[in-house]
């Protein structure tokens, strides 16, 4: 019983702390916009002000090129998550601000664990979800 209880606790404790995935940054939003090629489109994400910090109001801008903008609606959702750590649902609504351009305001929260790696996933459709993984500064 003791071993069983301890095992459960250890699994839960490690699950809460685990890095889960071997995610690494593929984007440096402090230096400039990040671009991804997805399904024939070029998607560019820009976050300002720079450097991108936790607990500050940020403006997220997304620009599409290389395809028909008619595919996209008047607004899009940008999901902010931390690889390997459940941080709740934090989604920024991006409103259309031009032919191929969407912008919205949001906040990246700070985690007590000291982790700074975040992932922004653009929820366009079930098959089209470009992601940008980056470090946020304190």
């Amino acid at each position: 019983m003791l071993l069983y209880s301890f095992s459960i606790f250890l699994v839960l404790f490690l699950f809460g702390c685990s890095s889960g995935t071997e995610a690494t940054a593929d984007c440096d939003p402090h230096a400039g916009p990040c671009t991804k090629e997805v399904d024939g489109y070029t998607v560019t994400l820009d976050i300002s002000p720079k450097p991108v910090r936790h607990m500050k109001e940020l403006t997220f801008g997304v620009v599409f090129s290389g395809g028909s903008p008619a595919l996209f609606s008047d607004s899009l959702l940008l999901d902010l998550s931390m690889p390997g750590m459940e941080m709740g649902k934090n989604q920024v609504v991006l409103k259309k601000a031009g032919d191929n351009r969407y912008t919205g305001k949001g906040i990246i929260v700070k985690c007590l664990s000291g982790r700074t790696l975040w992932r922004a996933t653009l929820l366009i459709s079930e098959t089209l979800e470009p992601t940008f993984t980056f470090n946020v500064r304190d």
């Binding site: 809460g16 702390c17 709740g88 934090n90």
Partner: protein, 225 residues
């Protein structure tokens, strides 16, 4: 306010409780649980109620102001102080629970200073009265937590669409109530498991647990300095 919003908050808390809180708040729960041998469930329930009370208070503030940043910038210094205080408390609990410093009962010959130190150490070692745990939960509910921040962000966003400030405030309170209730099962389970471990393997695991607590406490303090 849509019922679905509250259900989403409850589920967010439930998922976050197991995927986030156990890892981040597990050491805090371990710290207050290990010395407690008299109360079966009451201390866990009271601690969680205190924590949820604080969440509801913060939900009321973001609901009323419609701003997440107004709250977080206002309580930043308080959170820093609580984190240092919690860190030091966990270190002291680790030291006394691990038996790294021998405790003697204060005698008539003890000086007032050593008597106060001994009584403080005994408080940290436990068992404590049930009345300790609700205020403890209220204070530690202010600990900076990314998951709670996300819940508060959701409450701030939702309150911006409320009819008036009062409706926004109530929305914030209820959203954080449901979020807090969702996080409770994971911490209650963690606390109960620690109780079981503590009761059956006091001598073997207390030294190890106390070392983890001391390291956690040091981490809390170093993190904010």
């Amino acid at each position: 306010m849509a019922e679905s919003t509250l259900i989403v908050m409850l589920l967010t808390g439930l998922a976050g409780g197991f995927g986030h809180c156990i890892g981040m708040c597990g050491p805090v729960v371990a710290a207050y649980s290990l010395g407690e041998r008299n109360l079966r469930y009451l201390h866990h329930i009271l601690y969680n109620l205190g924590r949820i009370t604080t969440y509801m208070f913060m939900g009321a503030v973001v609901g009323l102001t419609g701003s997440f940043l107004v709250l977080t910038s206002s309580i930043e210094k308080i959170q820093t102080a609580i984190m240092v205080l919690a860190g030091i408390s966990i270190i002291v609990m680790g030291i006394v629970i691990g038996g790294w410093i021998p405790l003697r009962r204060p005698s008539k010959n003890s000086s007032w200073l050593s008597s106060i130190i001994q009584k403080t150490m005994e408080f940290f070692k436990g068992p404590r009265t049930a009345g300790t745990y609700y205020p403890m939960g209220i204070v530690l509910g202010f600990l900076p937590c990314g998951l709670t921040y996300t819940a508060l962000l959701a409450a701030a966003r939702a309150s911006m669409e409320a009819e008036n400030h009062l409706a926004g405030m109530l929305q914030g309170v209820f959203m954080l109530l449901f979020f807090g209730l969702g996080t409770a099962p994971a911490l209650l389970l963690a606390g109960k498991v620690i109780d079981v471990i503590g009761a059956k393997a006091r001598e073997r695991l207390y030294k190890l647990a106390s070392l983890i607590m001391i390291l956690t406490g040091v981490y809390f303090v170093v993190k904010v300095l």
